[in-house]
């Protein structure tokens, strides 16, 4: 397999891996490092690629494990990631835009506070649109745990957004 062919194979998944690592680590350079490490590992095992039935789930699992390792093995520092989520609505006034950007940042912070499993499940479901079975494969956890973690994550987000006045009910 040439590097070109390899790039072609990973092209549809690399941004998904990045978003997932970013959600796990909440840190842009670290998330890029994780994706780079995953892709290098994948390249080193490229002969096995043809035998793997679900490359996306396989690499997603690698990304998850590497992100968790990074979180646990390091003196963890969180950099300011404001600006990652750009939220803008056409025809909004500058004040309204600032307010909306603050709301987006607040939602991002609430999700970042979730325990790692809940955060991973919520990301794969609500942002990537994975099915329960796809999440099960990607994270290597049973279906019932996928559902429980998703329920808890959404419940927590709703409670926090209600407490901060973004939601009324």
């Amino acid at each position: 397999m040439t590097t070109n062919e390899f790039q072609h194979t990973v092209a549809p998944i690399k941004d998904k891996l990045y978003r997932f690592a970013l959600r796990m680590l909440d840190n842009i350079p670290e998330a890029q490092d994780v994706v780079q490490e995953v892709l290098i590992k994948l390249w080193q095992q490229r002969e096995r690629l043809t035998q793997v039935t679900n490359v996306e789930a396989w690499t997603m699992r690698m990304t998850s494990n590497m992100s968790i390792d990074k979180m646990r093995n390091k003196h963890w520092r969180t950099e300011d990631v404001s600006g990652i989520v750009q939220f803008a609505t056409p025809a909004s006034s500058p004040d309204r835009l600032t307010e909306q950007a603050d709301t987006m940042q607040h939602i991002s912070n609430v999700i970042a506070q979730l325990p790692e499993k809940q955060r991973s499940v919520m990301h794969l479901r609500d942002i990537e649109g994975y099915s329960y079975q796809e999440i099960e494969e990607a994270l290597g956890i049973p279906l019932n745990q996928v559902k429980v973690n998703l329920f808890r994550a959404r419940k927590y987000v709703r409670t926090q957004l209600t407490a901060s006045g973004i939601l009324n009910s």
Binding site: F6, Q7, Q36
Partner: protein
């Protein structure tokens, strides 16, 4: 879809009971501008999901990856060169030491005068204590070395990160 149906879907969503199709309906509804006033509070959350899905790697990432993928071959060559140089340097040092190190022998009379046997430990307990003390000293020094190595690695990592950033 009418407002009541969407509200029911939102409640179902927070209960973790919506299907993928229903969640897509919610995303589509909140993506459009015409959101009913009583549902506008939910719009930021669904718009956050949509915005987060647009996050992408920087455009130069592919180039960096290609460089990284090609690097191992170069790195292996360099590592072999370093290993060979180290071996050559060690051999040269040993040869130099053999020719240049002054050969000093203790005068036979001095070694004859000392009765080394008197210092030998015969008591088992004492021997155990001495061995334990020696191993403790060794362990302490090894730990000291490991700590220094860890400190140096930490410094190198920090500098590397600073350069990369």
């Amino acid at each position: 879809m009418n407002t009541i149906a969407i509200k029911q879907l939102v409640d179902k969503y927070f209960e973790g009971e919506t299907s993928l199709v229903e969640e897509q309906q919610l995303r589509a509804y909140f993506k459009e501008g015409a959101v009913a006033e009583e549902l506008q509070e939910y719009q930021p959350l669904f718009q956050y999901f949509a915005t987060a899905k647009r996050e992408e790697l920087p455009s130069d990432f592919d180039e960096r990856i290609v460089i990284e993928l090609q690097r191992p071959a170069k790195r292996r060559f360099m590592r072999r060169m370093v290993q060979m140089s180290s071996v050559a340097a060690s051999v040269m040092l040993m040869v130099a030491a053999y020719f240049w190190y002054p050969t000093t022998e203790l005068p036979s009379t001095v070694s004859n005068q000392i009765n080394w046997e008197q210092y030998e430990i015969t008591d088992e307990e004492e021997a155990y204590k001495e061995t334990k003390a020696a191993l403790k000293l060794l362990s302490r020094n090894l730990n000291r070395g490991a700590k220094k190595a860890a400190k140096s690695m930490d410094k190198i990592t920090k500098k590397k990160r600073r350069i990369e950033n």
